[in-house]
Each structure stands twice: as C-alpha cells, then as structure tokens.
C-alpha cells in the first residue's frame, strides 16, 4: 500500500468509528446540513444565476437562453440542457476534458429533478411549433469540492432558474416573465456503517457505503431519486431517508425565499 492509501484507510476508519457513536467529523448532528448561502444574480451576463456555498463546497450555476429547434417528439416545447463542469480548480483529482462519469451523473440527476418536477413550463417556451423554441441551458460549474455536489448543484440550479429574467429587448421573447413555479429540492444522505447522515462532506463520501438522493416537491411528493456508491441499502434505510428528505427539503426550500 502506498502512503496515500494508508492515510485514506486511516481517515476512513476514523469516520466509521465516529458514525458508530452517531458523531461526525465536523461535529454536526446526523441529520444536520452544513451552512448554506445562496447569492442569485451573481453572473450578470447570464439570464439567471446562483452561487451556492454548502459548507466549503462552492457551485455556480448560470442559465442562458438561446433559440433552437425542438425535439421531434415534443414539437411545441422548449428544451432543457443541463451540464456539469468539474473544474480542475475544485479538486486535485479533477482534470480538464470532456465530462466523465461523475459529472455526467450529477448533471443527469439535477436534470431529472428539474424536469420531473415540472418547475419550468416548457410549453410556454415555444416560438414556432416544430421550428423554433427556447433552449434553456443550465450550466453548473463546480468551483470547490467538499462533498455533496448533487445537492449543491441542484440548489444552485433551482435558484438560478427562479432568478431567471429575460430582457424585453430580446427578439421573439413575448412572455412577461420566465415561466417557473415549483421548487424541487434534492437532499442526499450517506450510509456509513448502518447509519444514515445528511449532506455528507468529502471525507464522509470517501468513507460511505452508499448515498441516496431524493428530490421532493412542496406537497411532499417525490419526483426523482438516485442511489450512488458501491454499497447497499436496506428498505429501512430508504424509508428513513424518505422521512428525512421531507423535513430537510422544507428547511432548504426556505433558503430560496
């Protein structure tokens, strides 16, 4: 084993030992999120944007609109395109280049949360059926990676969409405002040694068996879920996470106001 691997193993054992006593490396409660800060309108050349700090994780989402052709199976609907950039500045393991497995998964999980919640009324984003619609680009930049990129990215993207305004001078823009309504909130839980904890930081992610993300709507309904990691979850774990998601999503949703 290399020195690096030994250190990783020792760290992991430490996190697992703590979890057994319902303790966490940063002294949080098992169901406690790190501090959250949301700054909307941060990127002034984007139609919508939000910079989110989740503890030491930092994510910036910019929303840009451009005209394009609709999908043949939805000729009268605007298009959502979600992309995640794991910037090399965010972690030593990130390299520049096309999106890999991790970036692709985050982008698709965030995309599903937005799409399935129907928070954006894509029917209103049609300019000319079968010809031209608005394409909504949600570009997520990970700037600092200290764990739980799914929740930070999702929160930044929902906040950015809620803050989106299109200039009246924009040609073909006929709506009085960007058509958003609901606020889906994604909450993620890690399982470490039979314990479920909210909002894992990076060292906890390195030690976790599995994680489980749930996107919840205002009425408590679930619109998307995703398990990650190479371990397993029991039915009880999943139901516990579901209960926690209901409480935690309400807490996070208040931060959007």
């Amino acid at each position: 084993m290399s020195q690096r691997e030994i250190i990783a193993t020792v760290k992991k054992d430490y996190i697992v030992d703590l979890a057994e006593d319902n303790k966490r490396v940063d002294a949080r409660d098992m169901d406690q999120y790190r501090d959250i800060r949301i700054q909307t309108g941060w990127a002034e050349n984007a139609e919508g944007s939000a910079l989110v700090d989740l503890g030491k994780t930092k994510v910036l989402t910019g929303v840009k609109l451009e005209k394009g052709t609709p999908y043949p199976d939805k000729p009268e609907e605007g298009v959502l395109i979600t992309n995640v950039e794991l910037s090399p500045m965010a972690h030593e393991s990130f390299e520049s280049g096309p999106p890999g497995e991790e970036a692709t998964e985050i982008a698709r999980v965030v995309d599903r949360g937005i799409r399935e919640s129907e928070m954006v009324d894509f029917g209103k984003l049609c300019i000319e059926p079968e010809e031209e619609v608005w394409m909504v680009h949600v570009d997520i930049h990970i700037l600092d990676h200290d764990g739980n990129l799914i929740d930070a990215s999702s929160l930044a993207s929902v906040a950015a969409l809620l803050s989106t305004e299109v200039s009246e001078e924009e040609e073909d823009w006929k709506l009085s405002e960007f058509p958003v309504s609901r606020k889906p909130i994604t909450t993620t839980f890690a399982k470490i040694k039979d314990k479920i904890m909210a909002d894992p930081c990076l060292v906890e992610e390195d030690a976790m068996d599995a994680r489980f993300s749930i996107a919840t709507l205002e009425n408590g309904n679930i619109c998307a879920m995703q398990k990650g990691g190479s371990g397993t979850l029991t039915k009880e774990d999943l139901l516990e996470a579901q209960d926690l998601a209901k409480v935690k999503s309400e807490e996070l949703r208040e931060k959007l106001d």
Partner: protein, 241 residues
C-alpha cells in the same frame, strides 16, 4: 409520437393484458458466448440483451489497478438498431450514467477483494430495446458473472416498478414508461435482502414510494428464480456430456 391512451388500466388489466403485479415474459439463458469467460442472454418482454464477462485478468494500464481489490468495469450499450430512431453509435450521457449505476449495482455482490490488481470487464449489449433495458442488462450481467465462475455473495436481480393511472405496477412497458406517472428501477440481492440500485423519476406520493419498493422487491425475487434456473440448466447440461 406515441398517442396517449385514455386509460392505462381497464378492468384491472394493463394495455398488454397484464395485471398490475405481473412482469412481462422473462427468459434467461446462461453461457451463450463461446469466447467470453461468462455470458447470458435475456429476453424481457420485447427487450433482447446479451451480457458478457471477461476476467478477472490483469488490469492495464497499471495505474488503474487497485492494490486491495479487483476493479469492475461495466459497459452498457444500446445497439444503433435497437430503438425506433437509429441511435448514434458510441457512448451517450445516458449510457455513461447507466454504466456507472449498473457497476454500483453489481459491485456489492462480487468478492472483488479476492483479486487485487485485476479487472473484471462486464459488457451489456442491448440489441432490442423496449423499456426496462437497464434492469434487463443488470439481471443478465449478474448471471454472466456467476457463469464466469466468479465468487459472489448473491445474484443481483433487477426490475422496475412504476405508476400508471395512480396504480403502482410492475415492469413498465414502453407506453407506460413514456406516458405514465413514474418509473423506479431497482436492483436487489434476494439472499442478503439489500437494494443495490434505485433510481426514480415521475411523481410519487410518499406512500406510493413504499408500495412501489415492496412490489419491485417482490419482482426481483421472481427474477432471481429465473436466474437460478438458467444457471442450473447450463451446469446440469455440462454434467450430462
């Protein structure tokens, strides 16, 4: 574009005549490829897929080796002709994500720690797709791993539950998947009673989630019986030779 039927369930029967808790016809055959160390063929409704396994073998390039366990590499691939509109060959964002979650669904079942520095390559080739391809691929891949003689804690069985007309149903077919109210594929180790994959999109009430979970787990137990039978059939045949 698929036209939305007025009702998905009439007199307790779904569009294809199934009851809510029925899965589509499922057949699995182990050991269908000559060269691969392990393989399996699956048909689930209109889905047709082959899974293959090579390894454990030495991992190249060497810097990708793990000193304490084998690496499981998974590839999920839709053939260009497997879907209605031709799919451009090569990986897509969708296939990249499915390859990742499929790997994470299979890893818990394999004794990877027995093969440090090695790699086990799993390939899932979807030759005909009709909703539920990831569950079919994972189910076949698990049989292929066992067929390759790789030590496993359990088989991994996979099937989806979903919602149509406010009813929770097992194993969505194409129209139900495209126009229904939610789809939740899971993978499950029946002997260990552990979930190894769960994804969901749609709109579930909290109580519907639990109902769907129970139904999907029940479905996985049915799938597991077919997996076992496929392996038993292959190995009894070998004995008779």
């Amino acid at each position: 574009m698929t036209k939305e039927p007025e009702q998905f369930i009439v007199d307790g029967k779904r569009l294809d005549g199934r009851k809510p808790e029925d899965m589509r016809p499922l057949t699995i055959e182990a050991g269908v490829l000559e060269k691969a160390d392990g393989s399996a063929y699956i048909e689930l409704g209109g889905n047709k897929a082959i899974a293959s396994v090579y390894g454990p073998r030495e991992m190249h390039p060497r810097h990708l080796q793990k000193t304490n366990r084998a690496v499981l590499r998974c590839r999920y691939n839709l053939a260009p002709f497997s879907v209605e509109d031709r799919k451009r060959p090569g990986p897509s964002r969708r296939s990249t994500e499915i390859s990742k979650v499929a790997r994470e669904a299979l890893e818990p079942a394999v004794f990877l720690e027995l093969y440090p520095r090695a790699v086990i390559d799993v390939s899932m080739e979807l030759l005909q797709a009709r909703a539920g391809t990831r569950t079919a691929g994972i189910t076949a891949a698990s049989v292929a791993l066992a067929d390759a003689g790789i030590p496993m804690r359990d088989l991994v069985a996979s099937i989806a539950a979903g919602k149509v007309d406010d009813t929770i149903v097992l194993d969505l077919q194409k129209e139900e998947d495209q126009l229904g109210g939610g789809d939740m594929p899971i993978a499950y180790m029946p002997q260990k009673d552990k979930v190894t994959l769960i994804q969901m999109d749609g709109n579930f009430k909290p109580e519907e989630f639990e109902e769907a979970l129970d139904l999907a787990i029940q479905g996985c137990k049915e799938v597991y019986e077919k997996q076992r039978k496929a392996l038993e059939e292959k190995y009894t045949k070998v004995e008779e030779k």
